[in-house]
């Protein structure tokens, strides 16, 4: 599953049609939840734990470059991880690449994070 290519660590997470247009889906890498989103601006990946109260962003409402958490409406910028409507800290974003119909996420950042903080949602 792992494909090393350049900086960081690229992990193949799903096929591009696994995620319907303008929706998000959850993937799990090394025990961390990552939300992957498909929009007209491309695919994005952010840490799937809302910085506000840990809601599942992958179940949120998606627009071109934002996702709104389904729990309390915090709107996260998919490009920067910034919370646009609250004074909260950024969440993590991960580079995404689509190749031959496969979606790859660069999870190099995970190595800098501590034990998995999964937030909400069904545990695998």
């Amino acid at each position: 599953m792992t494909n090393r290519n350049g900086q960081g660590r690229w992990v193949r997470v799903c096929e591009d049609d696994d995620i319907p247009f303008l929706e998000g889906r959850r993937v799990e890498v090394d025990g961390f939840y990552i939300g992957v989103f498909n929009t007209e601006e491309g695919f994005f990946a952010v840490y799937d734990v809302c910085p506000h109260r840990g809601g599942p962003l992958s179940d949120g409402d998606v627009a071109a470059t934002t996702v709104t958490c389904p729990l309390h409406g915090r709107k996260v910028d998919l490009k920067t991880g910034e919370v646009l409507n609250d004074d909260l800290s950024c969440t993590f974003t991960f580079p995404v690449r689509v190749e031959d119909g496969w979606v790859f996420v660069n999870v190099g950042l995970l190595m800098t994070m501590n034990a998995p903080a999964r937030g909400t949602g069904s545990a695998a």
Binding site: D18, R25, V27, V29, G119, G121, S122
Partner: protein, 797 residues
């Protein structure tokens, strides 16, 4: 980097945090801040603690900042660390973490602590002070049945209210002759007592506590006159004492507080003190507004500028207790010679207004029972305005007289120090047009929020038009529900995507998509092109998302009637899918809580029951009583009518949720008069139809739309009204706002006048929409499902 000014702030309360904010407003490269806070949680709005205790605000609304907030701003935050030593010669502080930190400027914001008088028994288990989040949490955990609050001041009354709201029986004990004796005169205090007693709080005045009794644990309080009050909790609110110990040990001059001058400087160079630990001109202020005034001056001084010195604050206070409005400012007793009082007292209505006048100028005021005009009065006292400016306000008939316009320099927001002039600039130069926009532009109203009505007045006065906080369906494109509806109709739009192409709504921001979906589906009688991405997760997976990401599912039990077999299946599903709780809802249904998303389709199949739509802006259910079937008082068969209504409306979306009820007699056990639509049977086979009622976030008794002669007619009227609301309601507008907005007469014209043919046309359109609706759990479980819709995690791990 080393050129940065090193500021050490001791104390992370309101004053300390506000100072940090103020310093950050300047070039963040200019200062490096170390912030010590010995409470484990970060800064919060202590002023709203009583609301937290009463459960009306959450911790998050107390404004607690996450650690990352500090990290991003480069602040060295040391939570849970006390400063235990200061060397003012070498300019270093030592924390309980063992670190020495060098400072250029040191600011004490150590606040105060509750003063606990040495009453025998004060150390018993169950004796609390009311000061910190921790105090409140411990009090809540103790869940007292009977509590005694010692101290009838502002804090004591707030604590009492918080406890009452949590269901405790409370008595307030104070040694003074009247409540809030710092802020109110005797007459106002007596009137306040009446109001407080109405809330069910006992009051004992001129009462000295002799002993807190109990064997290790609080069992009661004995007063000096011999009265014994039984209690399992005692809350001591006998005032505050500044935290001066550390400063004193460092050789800084202290008295009641740390002594400061007009620049908030202590007796030691480059050391400042602000907030409740500081004493200025012999006064220690235990209030927010003075602390913030001090912060603004101190910040300038710390940065090496020369601000206008602080000249002391006007004591002003408002009681934040539900249902009792009290505001007080300045001198309220008028003991100085030459003081005169304007008084308007109405004990029947429980209102009391007083302004104290000296040499023709207003120097103090009290408002009780009616806070209208409070900001005007406060401003007048602050400016020592001429007495005739407030005369109408005090003596006017119940404050209905419009207050005179405020002068531009008058301060509107005391928390953030924003003047009317600054707000005017925002309105006229920046074009802000709502209270919330004023807040974003000037921070006015962003503190306690008490000045929001005044901001609204100023907006109205300035724009010369009543400010309707316009409710846009799409705020980005400034489109109302009506705008969107007419675009969809005129251009015959069938999808949210097509709508976005036409008007831009829902493209760059998803906030309005769910609302757009409603309008598109309603106008097309549910024959629109369904786009799952334009539905909320609840509507995508037909359950209500919970705080842990699992879902709750409520099967439809029409009219609240179920069977043994259905109950068995509900029980089986709850067990099989490890539901965390089964809960009987207020709407006579069963809620299975805590089902995982991936289990939802199987759970529905096992249930074999239709969706109760308990998750959407949709028709919910009809609550019923047992009517004539069983009840000996019933005059109409409310149960079967309720079931018929439910069948007629189920599976339909609405602008906001719609709850209904059917009662079989005027005893109204189904509470039909506080529902969006309610029917009540009365003698002679007649039915009343009520609309626009609510008993949720808002409580409103519905309006009697009409009384009809048969259940068939009742059915027809409710159907016409329901569709009328579907077609004319604004997105998220509940019927309790919709009905007053349209006006009852207007609604009657459309839904009752059968001769016009309009009610029948409404019902036809309702039937058309209904034909194209479906039960998402059973009928079309597979339809409208995008790939991996119910998957928990989609990759192999």
């Amino acid at each position: 980097m080393s050129k940065r000014l090193k500021v050490v702030v001791v104390g992370n309360g309101i004053a300390g945090a506000a100072l940090v904010d103020e310093l950050l407003k300047e070039d963040p490269e200019e200062v490096s801040i170390t912030l010590y806070g010995d409470e484990k949680v970060g800064t919060y709005d202590r002023v709203r603690l009583s609301e937290y205790m009463a459960g009306t605000v959450g911790l998050e609304e107390l404004g607690i900042r996450p650690k990352e907030w500090y990290e991003e701003r480069g602040i060295d935050l040391r939570l849970g660390v006390r400063v235990i030593g200061v060397d003012t010669k070498s300019r270093e502080v030592m924390g309980s973490d063992g670190d020495w930190v060098v400072y250029d400027r040191l600011v004490f914001a150590t606040g105060s602590q509750s003063f606990v008088p040495p009453i025998p028994g004060y150390d018993k288990e169950g004796v609390f002070v009311f000061r910190t989040v921790e105090d409140v949490e411990q009090m809540l955990e103790a869940a007292p049945k009977k509590a005694v609050v010692i101290g009838g001041g502002l804090l004591g009354l707030e604590a009492a209210w918080g406890l009452v709201a949590r269901g405790a029986e409370v008595t307030v004990v104070d040694r003074a002759g009247h409540l809030m004796n710092q802020q109110l005169d005797r007459a106002a205090g007596a009137m306040l007592r009446k109001e407080i007693e109405k809330m069910g709080v006992g009051v004992r005045l001129e009462a000295l506590t002799e002993e807190i009794s109990g064997n290790g644990k609080v069992e009661g309080v004995r007063l000096q006159d011999g009265e014994e009050l039984s209690a399992d909790m005692v809350v001591v609110c006998a005032g505050i004492r500044s935290n001066t110990k550390l400063a004193h040990e460092c050789g800084i001059d202290t008295n009641r507080g740390i002594v400061v001058d007009g620049y908030l400087r202590t007796s030691v160079p480059d050391v400042y003190a602000i907030g409740e630990c500081a004493e200025h001109n012999g006064l220690v202020y235990g209030l927010v507004a003075p602390a913030l005034e001090q912060v603004r001056v101190a910040a300038e001084c710390v940065l090496g500028r020369e601000p206008t010195p602080y000249r002391g604050s006007l004591a002003s206070a408002t009681l934040k207790v539900m249902g009792v409005d009290v505001a007080s400012v300045g001198d309220v007793y008028g003991e100085e010679s030459g003081s005169e009082a304007l008084v308007n007292s109405n004990p029947l209505k429980g209102t009391y207004k007083k302004a104290l006048v000296r040499d023709g100028r207003v120097v103090g005021a009290i408002l009780l029972g009616d806070k209208a005009g409070a900001p005007h009065l406060l401003g007048a006292v602050r400016r020592e305005a001429p007495a005739d400016e407030v005369e109408a306000l005090i003596l006017g008939s119940n404050g209905e007289d419009k207050a005179p316009p405020l002068p531009d320099e008058a301060q509107v927001c005391d928390c953030n120090g924003v003047s009317k002039g600054q707000i005017l600039v925002a309105i006229t130069k920046k074009g802000v047009a709502s209270v919330s926009e004023v807040g974003a532009a000037t921070r006015a109203g962003a503190g306690c929020g008490g000045c929001k009505p005044l901001i609204k007045d100023i907006l109205e006065e300035t724009t010369r038009a009543a400010v309707e906080e316009k409710s846009y369906l799409c705020p980005c494109m400034k489109l109302t529900t009506e705008d969107v509806r007419s675009i969809v109709k005129e251009r015959e739009i069938q999808s949210v995507n097509a709508l976005g192409e036409v008007c831009g709504a829902g493209k760059i921001c998803s906030d309005c998509k769910v609302g757009l979906t409603y309008v598109v589906s309603e106008v097309n009688a549910n024959r629109h092109k369904e786009e799952r991405h334009a539905r909320h997760i609840n509507d995508r997976v037909h359950g209500n998302i919970q705080n842990d990401g699992t879902f709750s599912i409520v099967p439809r039990t029409r009219g609240g009637v179920t069977t043994a077999d259905e109950l068995r299946r509900i029980a089986d599903v709850a067990e099989k899918y490890e539901a965390r709780m089964i809960k009987i809802t207020g709407a006579q249904r069963l809620d299975i809580l805590g089902v995982k998303k991936e289990d939802l389709p199987n759970a529905w199949e096992d249930l074999g029951m239709p969706s109760g739509f308990a998750y959407g802006k949709a028709f919910r259910q009809v609550k019923t009583c047992v009517g004539t079937e069983f009840c000996r008082f019933g005059v109409g068969d409310s149960t079967s009518l309720g079931i018929e209504m439910e069948k007629s409306f189920e599976n339909l979306y609405t602008p906001a949720k719609v709850k209904m009820a059917a009662s079989g007699c005027p005893r109204n056990c189904a509470e039909a008069t506080v529902k969006d639509v309610g029917v009540v049977a009365i003698e002679g086979g007649k039915w009343q139809v009520w609309v626009g009622g609510a008993a949720g976030m808002d409580v409103r008794k519905g309006d009697l739309l009409t009384t009809v002669d048969s259940r068939e007619e009742a059915m027809k009227v409710t159907q016409a009204f329901f569709q009328y609301y579907r077609e004319n309601g604004r997105w998220k507008e509940r019927t309790y706002d919709f009905v007053p907005r349209m006006g009852l007469e207007e609604i009657r014209k459309h839904v009752l006048d059968e001769e016009s043919g309009e009610p029948e046309r409404l019902r036809q359109r309702l039937r058309a929409a209904k034909e194209a609706s479906f039960d998402p759990w059973q009928e079309e479980r597979v339809k409208n499902k995008t790939k991996n819709q119910f998957a928990g995690v989609i990759n192999d791990k």
